[in-house]
């Protein structure tokens, strides 16, 4: 069941403090996190926010460290908005929607140093672990951004190193060793229509959204990534209000991972 209305009408609802599905402006739909859903992967997760569903998988590879960071491993984040998950997504290589999503999720994990890159190094200058995270949409009912970020973190936490023998990964044997993790970062995207800010948009709300701000938050409440999207500008006051809302709501998501 899809519900649509005009922007003007939606604002009339917002003025009364609720949305078309009866939720309050700062209310998440039901959020569910499952891990280990794809045992072939070194780490995996499924996140559902309402009917929006996203899978994330982590594969570990061996690579050469970047020349400017010879004692560090790294992450690579890719995302696919599959045509399986929405009539609006086309087949083919990732479009800008998927690329932006992947890069924003990447920054949230990288900048917060969720993974200790130095401990991913095996031989400085020669060999290090690369944590490759792939995020795949299965059903788009709005708010893929938050579902994707949460799924990535959950998959990273679920990840276990495979055995290495003679410098070659044996993917068929897993160790008990987790990735070297610091604190998780959590991302919340806040949207704005007219004068109202709100979180966790439904499909219709996302389509009418004028501007959005994705905020990644550390456990201490520091910001570790920001991304403004949408065709409309934001004034400073909006930004601070949206950040406050995101930081507040991030605590709820943090409990789930």
């Amino acid at each position: 069941m899809v519900v649509k209305t005009s922007k003007q009408r939606m604002l009339e609802f917002f003025a009364k403090g609720f949305r078309l599905d009866g939720r309050k402006l700062n209310e998440f739909r039901n959020v569910q996190v499952e891990t280990g859903i794809s045992p072939n992967a070194e780490g995996s997760s499924r996140v559902k926010i309402g009917d929006t569903e996203v899978l994330a998988g982590v594969k570990l590879e061996l690579g050469t460290p970047y020349p400017d960071k010879p004692d560090e491993g790294t992450i690579m984040v890719g995302a696919e908005l599959l045509p399986l998950s929405s009539p609006d997504f086309e087949a083919g290589p990732p479009g800008i929607g998927a690329i932006e999503l992947a890069r924003v999720v990447d920054r949230g994990i990288r900048e917060a140093a969720v993974i200790d890159f130095k401990r991913l190094c095996i031989t400085p200058g020669e060999k290090a672990w690369i944590v490759v995270i792939d995020i795949i949409s299965v059903n788009d009912d709005g708010n893929l951004f938050d579902a994707a970020a949460l799924a990535a973190i959950a998959a990273v936490k679920n990840c276990r190193f495979p055995e290495i023998s003679d410098g070659v990964i044996d993917y068929k044997s897993t160790t008990e060793e987790k990735l070297p993790l610091n604190e998780e970062s959590v991302e919340v995207t806040v949207h704005k229509i007219g004068g109202t800010i709100f979180i966790d948009p439904s499909l219709a709300e996302e389509q009418l959204s004028e501007a959005r701000l994705t905020v990644a938050v550390t456990k201490e409440g520091d910001l570790c990534a920001l991304q403004k999207g949408g065709d409309f500008p934001l004034v400073e006051e909006d930004i601070y209000a949206m950040i406050d809302l995101a930081v507040e709501k991030s605590k709820e998501l943090r409990k789930l991972i």
């Binding site: 899809v2 519900v3 009408r9």
Partner: protein, 231 residues
């Protein structure tokens, strides 16, 4: 000879309905030698000796005489292209939309513009699925404001109910309701009434196949009314 399934059985394509020549294959079924076989996922319905399937799923297939909720997708010189919530868009010709005289080359947006919602009737569908619409009819009109809900078109009969019983229950929320055969439902009321009605429509859609639904919805309507009074 043998009827292998009974009325209201849920059948899946390929399942045998009857053996022998006694039964006639109606819509959603086909004859394969001496068997009548299900061709669509749905409920078996027998009228006399004709077996047909009432589909449980599937996108809307535009039919002559259906009244639908359409959304104006484009404006041309002679009319409007209308999104019908199906694989095929429809044409509403200016002569079928108004009895006013409209001069050639006039700006048609003063009647309907892109995004407008109309309650309209299909008066013709060709084999190539070219669809003609008309606004001539007492109930047919442009619908201003409100909210559109898209439901499974196969659930529309349930949403209307026998003798419009279900839709009358829903109007008890204080909203105006127009239900299109194409699965689009337009509602308009006070915001809190609309939110309640959306919940009700969702429940009817989810439980359309269960018995005793009218009573369940009656109870649900009263329950929500009580909750609303508390707030």
């Amino acid at each position: 000879m043998a009827l292998l399934a009974k009325e209201k059985d849920i059948l899946v394509p390929g399942e045998e309905i009857a053996k022998g020549m006694d039964y006639i294959p109606g819509s959603g079924t086909y004859r394969d030698k001496d068997s009548v076989v299900c061709q669509r996922f749905g409920l078996l319905s027998l009228s006399g000796r004709t077996a047909h399937i009432i589909p449980l799923t599937g996108k809307y297939a535009p039919k002559k005489d259906d009244t639908i909720i359409g959304i104006v997708a484009d404006v041309s010189f002679s009319g409007w292209r209308i999104d019908t919530n199906s694989a095929y868009s429809a044409m509403l010709n200016v002569k079928d939309a108004t009895s006013e005289f409209v001069s050639k080359g006039a700006d048609l947006t003063r009647f309907f513009k892109i995004g407008d919602i109309i309650f309209t009737k299909i008066f013709n569908v060709t084999s190539q699925k070219l669809i003609d619409l008309s606004m001539r009819g007492p109930e047919l009109r442009k619908l201003e404001g409100g909210t559109i809900i898209s439901v499974d078109p196969n659930k529309v009969p349930r949403l209307i109910g026998k003798n419009a019983s279900m839709v009358t229950l829903m109007e008890g929320t204080g909203c105006r309701i127009y239900i299109g055969q194409n699965g689009l439902v337009w509602i308009k009321g006070e915001p809190d009434a609309e939110v309640r009605l959306i919940k009700i429509i969702k429940k009817v859609e989810e439980e359309a196949h269960t018995p005793g639904l009218t009573k369940k919805i009656e109870d649900y309507v009263n329950e929500i009314k009580k909750e609303a009074k508390k707030v």
